[in-house]
């Protein structure tokens, strides 16, 4: 049947898988749970491919269908509307494809863990919400998906909920996300107030009209404020400064979770949202400037922290934050296509890196500290090769994927008119650091003397269910960038061309001078990556041992003490406020006081009125007379009241 007409199938299948596994999976055996989880995701992927095929066959016309009305209030309508255009195609294929691979990997990784069915139920639920987010045709439905993935993130981070650190990390992720969501909601309200609708089609059409002026730099018009508020949401979801603190802690979750949610898909939702709203952002240069600066700063900041971490997953977490910064830098300087391109290549190599790290951890029997590894390259060859592929990719060596995407971003930054050179410089520096810390990881983990005790740790290669996806992802990390070969290599930028109906044709660089500059910058990027590799080789390939941590090293190792700063500046005052004001004064004092007060008041009234029942007949007689006076007063009031108030006789 035509999938495009029934787009709802694509998110529905994982939802069904989640529900079935969640309700009945506890009693079933692992193969049954596997088949349901993998089956739903796999079929969903096939449906996605089919939908893309239909889309392309139909001339790549943007497709939108309203399925049912969800909210109808006066003139406002938010429906369950799904759409498919070129941007959606990219996101859809990445989410379903990489998601499916990670599902396969998880069957091997989680084979010995408890709560197996629960894991897959949550994972499928996550797929459902992410697909809703990507397919949504209005901000409200996107927000539903947004919140849903946040929920699944919480559930999966805290998967080992008996560990306090895991439960705390889940809470931290959800709460920090919430702060971002608050900004997102305010942005949505502002958009609704301005455009009276939250459908993408309506809003973007209204904003593209010629009479809607581009707001000048430095001025905070309505669109600028709305875009900044939306970006606050993206900061929370995509872990940028200052709301990145949840992502490193999220490594408490199982490694497939880190790969899927915190590398490939959920954290990119912010980038997707900004790219989707590019019509609004291009009308608000101030907002784009802020996006670029935040992205660039985050890229550098996170890279510095990643330099000295000892937990293999933490290095990758900070690397994710840093790469997300690159994507936002791209969007900020106007190269939305490049940002999405980097999103796609990042999904490939970051998922690969995380899954390889998972494989290493699995091989080491749960050890995550790199200082307790070493010399693994001969023992776990397949994992080593895959991880090497991923590292070369992320460092930006051609012809691997990230070279093309990072190159496009840095080139666009260089050409940006408001301090683009500075942004370029910082971005380049961050690239050097990226290369350095990734190769440090490789040398510490796979080379040198083994720093672990062979008798306690039996290093073994991972099963095929784990290495299979690794190899597929390694292949994609190598070839994924070939969609956008710059002219240097004689190719066409297929990717930008594909996305140009969405983003406009301004992506392609023009002119000879620009092209030669691009060549120069590419070479500079490769040199920078090589520099990082050489320094890491120098420092870490020989026999090393862990040193003491002082000075700058200590500052970086403790993540600039940002968590402590937040705890003191934000968390402690809030907890104090909650305890002493909201609890003691408002809840116990006012609310309980009112409720108890009403009860006490009723008792007091009763206590007073009881005296009328004195048991003495003469006082009853008095009350009878009082009653008679009241009734007579009511009857005589029309005649009397002019008299009472001194009216005319």
């Amino acid at each position: 049947m035509p999938i495009l007409e029934n787009l709802w199938i694509i998110p529905l299948l994982p939802l069904l898988g989640s529900a079935i596994n969640g309700l009945f999976g506890a009693k079933w055996s692992k193969p049954v749970v596997n088949s349901i989880a993998l089956g739903s995701t796999g079929v969903s992927f096939l449906c996605a491919v089919e939908a893309v095929r239909e889309f392309l066959a139909g001339g790549s016309q943007p497709f939108r269908k309203e399925f049912f009305d969800w909210i109808v209030a006066g003139s406002f309508r938010a429906g369950f509307d799904l759409q498919l255009d070129q941007l959606t195609v990219v996101m859809l294929l990445v989410v379903t494809g990489v998601g499916f691979l990670i599902h396969i990997y998880s069957t091997g990784y989680m084979a010995h863990e408890g709560g197996y069915y629960r894991f897959f139920s949550y994972l499928n639920l996550f797929m459902f919400f992410m697909l809703i987010l990507v397919l949504a045709a209005n901000y409200v439905l996107l927000f539903v998906g947004w919140e849903g993935v946040g929920l699944c993130s919480y559930l999966l981070i805290g998967f080992y909920f008996l560990r306090k650190s895991a439960a705390d990390a889940g809470k931290k992720a959800f709460i920090v996300n919430r702060i971002g969501d608050f900004g997102f909601m305010l942005g949505m309200f502002l958009l609704f107030r301005t455009f009276h609708s939250l459908d993408f089609a309506t809003v973007f059409d209204a904003a593209s009209k010629p009479e809607v002026a581009v707001e000048p730099m430095g001025q905070f018009g309505i669109l600028t404020v709305a875009c900044l508020l939306l970006f606050v949401g993206a900061i929370g979801k995509s872990a940028q400064l200052p709301l990145y603190v949840w992502l490193p802690d999220a490594m408490e979750g199982p490694t497939p979770v880190s790969a899927l949610i915190h590398a490939a898909t959920m954290v990119t939702a912010g980038v997707y949202m900004v790219a989707r709203s590019h019509v609004l952002f291009t009308h608000a240069p101030t907002a784009m400037y802020v996006v670029a600066i935040v992205g660039c700063a985050t890229a550098f900041f996170a890279a510095t922290i990643g330099l000295v971490q000892s937990d293999i997953k933490k290095v990758l977490a900070y690397s994710t934050v840093s790469q997300l910064g690159y994507m936002f830098l791209a969007c900020g300087v106007g190269a939305f296509g490049a940002g999405i391109f980097h999103l796609m290549t990042h999904a490939f190599f970051k998922a690969l890196l995380f899954l390889s790290a998972g494989s290493v951890i699995h091989a080491m029997g749960g050890e995550q500290d790199m200082w307790n590894m070493g010399g693994l390259s001969k023992k776990i060859k397949a994992t080593f090769v895959c991880m090497l592929f991923g590292t070369i990719a992320i460092a930006g060596f051609p012809p691997f994927a990230a070279f093309f995407s990072k190159d496009a971003i840095l080139f666009a930054a260089y050409n940006y008119e408001n301090g683009g050179k500075v942004l370029y410089g910082v971005g380049l520096l961050a690239a050097v650091l990226t290369s350095f810390y990734m190769f440090r990881l490789i040398w510490l983990t796979f080379f040198g003397e083994k720093r672990y005790d062979e008798h306690h740790v039996h290093v073994h290669e991972s099963p095929g269910s784990m290495t299979g996806p690794l190899m597929i992802l390694a292949f994609l990390s190598l070839t994924g960038g070939w969609f956008a070969l710059p002219a240097l290599f004689g190719g066409k930028d297929y990717f930008a061309e594909f996305l140009s109906p969405v983003f406009g044709a301004g992506e392609a660089g023009g002119g000879e001078a620009a092209q030669s500059m691009e060549h120069i910058l590419s070479i500079v990027a490769v040199v920078a990556a090589t520099a990082g590799l050489l320094v890491a080789w120098q420092m870490y390939s020989k026999n090393v041992k862990r040193g003491t941590s002082e000075g700058v090293h200590k500052l970086l190792y403790n993540k600039y003490y940002v968590d402590e700063l937040y705890a003191a500046a934000v968390v402690r005052p809030l907890v104090w406020l909650s305890t002493n004001v909201l609890w003691k004064v408002v809840d116990a004092g006012m609310i309980d006081g009112t409720v108890n007060g009403v009860a006490d008041g009723a008792a007091a009234v009763g206590d007073t009125v009881r005296h009328t029942q004195s048991g003495n007949t003469r006082s009853y007689a008095v009350w009878v007379v009082v009653g008679a006076i009241v009734v007579l007063g009511i009857v005589f009031w029309p005649i009397l009241h002019p008299a009472v108030f001194g009216g005319v006789r």
Binding site: Q613, S614, G615, N616, T617, R618, A621, V622, V625
Partner: protein, 100 residues
Amino acid sequence: MVPTNYYLILSAILFGLGVLAFVFKRNVITIFMAIELMLNAVNLAFVAFSRALGKSDGEVFVLFVIIVAAAEAAVGLGIIILTARNRRSLNVERVDLLKL
């Protein structure tokens, strides 16, 4: 000609005196007599209005009031006899079994 207002004022005064007796007297029979006084005051007002309006309807109502008052007196005095035998006193303040 006696203006109607005079009768009405007299009725009001008698009614007020009836209320005073109702509240202040302690003998239950005297209280009952005060009720009769109040009914009489009201009768006076009825007849006065009947005279002022020229219709006899007021007097008919007076007849009914007298009938009802008579029936009420009969039954009420029966109750008073029983209560007085029970409490061995005609003081209304002695009927205080509901007092705490």
